[in-house]
């Protein structure tokens, strides 16, 4: 049943990539039209998948050998992520029509965006570990290509390569885990692993669990791998919205959710997930508070919100994590596209050169404030409900320190959100620019996403039902029950109080300046990325100096080269004579 839709959901964007490339850069209008056409068709096909979900294998392509079967499954968890990817993908493509107008090399841009959408759908819908890793890497490749789309900008190139290297580094964990599973079960089938995980030796399962965790942390920009995401903001803004806010960075969370049933009993794993989520959420929130670049603030906030999702999974609630993923994908795409409209209008990302833009861009301000409200956790926007769900899960099932940490994080979120909105849209203009409001191609996605931000929480009931068939032991309930529970829970009041304190803190910032002065050291540390950048630089430097040392061995002198032959002969003789056994 689901097979044709799966094929279309992955295949249409990929066909579109080919079509746009063939259309050629001489025909930008055709490229825009083709990209929108194929992206929207992919989105529709993704939505159609919602009607045909099921846990059984829908497509099975026997490849054989060490490659097993290539399988695709359209279960609730996967279809959900595929829908997010294709629908938000098509909105980002529509937005690009205006945003990328007049750019050179559009073919490359659209081809990679469409390639990404298809790969992301594939990542979500595959039932084979090999294909999971395959699509995982394809999304990394496209993300790299799009971050450094403006190849003449050294920062863009560096950002792209950094993102690629860091996600790949973590990806080695997924590779090793998948290979371990295959070596022991003889199959790449994900459901077979989930069913048979308990039979695996405990230490082996622990290795797989932590390998997957490393991969997820790298992909979802969790500490200590989070440093690539802010640097990825050199990408064109629709790409940031799509890949680095709404979809690809969610792949890590998806991975944890997908394999949670197999790993939850691994000693220490849940705690490690909780710690990673909490530390990331807090660190990134502080960094968002001191950043000056609008897109970087949004990037840190993405890192921080992903921390919330990871935290939720660590506390044992896949539903809470995925529900926040849903809300976040919508409101963060809205925020990024809104920021894109601002940046497109005035040509800078520095918030200190903005201010007072609300007067010129009322529509953008309106939708941005809605998105910001959802981020800050203000009722009744979708971010409020999903964050409450996470906090309550943390209180009920997680360690108390975790709950307190996340509560503080909620306050910080409100504070930096207020700062961002204020610096961009309110106050006095700090530089001269002729801002214009969003034109239709930009306005349509913005309005749609704003409506989504206002309403997606109403889907809680069906959402739970969708996931329940894919995630064993998931506790689903109707939207009404959920709303009643949240509203009547005293913890909600506590959380709202913390959010209010955060908002108040920004309003009263002049009175709080002595405290801010006292925290100068923290601010400095945050601007330095809390030392994680230094680790990256250290590793890069060590690699380079190792290379420099080794380079001296390539002397180019023939006698020295001959010495290599004599030396190797000696070593080989010694090894063969001494030798070990099998």
């Amino acid at each position: 049943m689901a097979a044709p839709f799966i094929t279309l959901t992955i295949g249409l964007p990929w066909l579109g990539a080919l079509a746009v490339w063939i259309a050629g850069d001489q025909h930008p209008k055709a490229q825009h039209a083709l990209a929108v056409l194929f992206a929207v068709a992919g989105g529709l096909s993704g939505l159609a998948l919602l009607t045909t979900t099921g846990a059984e294998v829908a497509i099975r392509l026997p490849v054989g050998g060490a490659f097993g079967d290539f399988t695709f499954v359209a279960d609730g968890l996967g279809v959900f992520l595929a829908v997010i990817a294709t629908v938000i993908g098509s909105l980002a493509v529509i937005f690009s029509v205006e945003y990328m107008k007049g750019e050179a090399q559009l073919g490359r841009y659209y081809a990679f965006v469409l390639l990404f959408i298809g790969a992301m759908a594939g990542l979500a819908l595959t039932g084979s570990l090999l294909l999971l890793f395959f699509f995982w890497e394809v999304t990394a490749l496209t993300s790299y290509a799009l971050i450094s789309f403006h190849n003449d900008d050294p920062k863009a190139v560096a950002g792209g390569i950094k993102a690629l290297l860091m996600t790949q580094l973590g990806g080695v964990g997924l590779l090793a885990g998948a290979l371990l599973i295959y070596a022991h079960l003889g199959s790449y089938d994900i459901s077979a692993f989930l069913a048979g995980a308990d039979a695996l030796p405990p230490d082996l399962r622990a290795l797989i669990a932590f390998g997957f965790l490393a991969a997820a942390a790298a992909k979802s920009a969790q500490a200590p791998f989070h440093t690539w995401l802010p640097d990825a903001m050199e990408a064109p803004t629709p790409v940031s919205a799509l890949i680095h806010a709404a979809t690809m960075v969610n792949a890590g969370v998806y991975l944890l959710a997908r394999f949670f049933p197999a790993f939850e009993s691994v000693p220490g794993w849940s705690t490690a997930v909780v710690i990673i989520g909490m530390v990331t959420a807090l660190l990134a929130a502080v960094m968002a508070l001191v950043a000056d670049d609008l897109k970087r603030v949004l990037a840190y906030s993405t890192v921080s919100q992903l921390g919330y999702m990871v935290f939720a999974i660590g506390c044992g609630s896949v539903l809470a994590g995925q529900f926040h993923l849903f809300s976040h994908a919508v409101f963060k795409a809205l925020l990024f596209l809104g920021a894109g409209a601002v940046i497109h209008a005035i040509g800078t990302r520095d918030m200190h050169q903005m201010g007072g833009l609300g007067k010129h861009m009322p529509l953008v301000r309106g939708v941005f404030v809605i998105g910001a409200g959802a981020l800050a956790g203000i009722p009744i926007l979708n971010g409020f409900w999903s964050k409450e769900l996470i906090l309550e899960t943390g209180l009920a099932h997680g360690p108390l320190w975790g709950y307190i940490g996340m509560l503080i994080g909620a306050g910080l979120t409100a504070l930096y959100t207020a700062r961002m909105v204020w610096l961009v849209f309110y106050g006095e203009p700090r530089s001269h620019h002729h801002a214009h409001d969003a034109r239709p191609a930009m306005a349509i996605p913005l309005v749609l996403l704003a409506v989504g931000t206002l309403t997606t929480w109403l889907l809680f009931g069906p959402f739970g039902a969708l996931l329940a068939e894919a995630v064993p032991g998931l506790h689903e309930e109707s939207t009404l029950d959920f709303v009643t529970k949240v509203v009547s829970d005293p913890a909600t009041l506590l959380a709202l109080g913390v959010v209010a304190i955060g908002l108040l803190a920004w309003q009263q910032r002049s009175r709080l300046s002595p405290i801010a002065a006292g925290l100068r050291a923290l601010e400095q540390a945050a601007k330095q990325g809390f030392g994680f950048e230094a680790i990256n630089r250290f590793v890069a430097r060590m690699t380079r100096s190792a290379a420099t040392v080794l380079q001296r061995t390539q002397t180019g002198e023939l006698n020295w080269n001959a010495a290599g032959i004599a030396g190797a002969l000696l070593i080989v003789l010694i090894i063969l004579a001494g030798g070990g056994t099998r």
Binding site: Q551, R552, Q554, T555, G556, E557, L558, A562, I565, A566
Partner: protein
């Protein structure tokens, strides 16, 4: 003290090899290096003779040695031709001056 013919030949092989490897490590002149390669090849040929003698397969060994001589000569010719060109373009045959390609 008397050595068996096989031992004498093997001794000669070892000696030639020693000279050859020593030469590879220290010879700076390209022509000398080519001579050293010839010495090494002669060691291999002698080794074949020794092996043929020990296994009483002298005919086979001889035909192989003949083949090696042919191949070896071809290599030597190419090497010398290269040496001529090197002398022409670098103005020297010192291999330690032939280090523009490195690192």
């Amino acid at each position: 003290m008397s050595l068996s013919p096989l031992a004498i030949v093997l001794l000669a092989v070892t000696l030639l090899l020693g000279v050859g490897f020593y030469g590879l490590l220290v010879a700076r002149n390209l022509i000398k290096l080519i001579v050293v390669l010839q010495i090494l090849a002669k060691a291999a040929m002698l080794a074949f003779v020794a092996a043929g003698y020990g296994q009483e397969h002298m005919g086979l060994a001889q035909s192989m040695v003949a083949m090696v001589i042919v191949a070896d000569t071809v290599v030597a010719v190419i090497a010398l031709a290269l040496a001529v060109q090197v002398r022409r373009h670098y103005g020297t045959l010192d291999v330690r001056k032939l280090t523009t390609l490195r690192g």
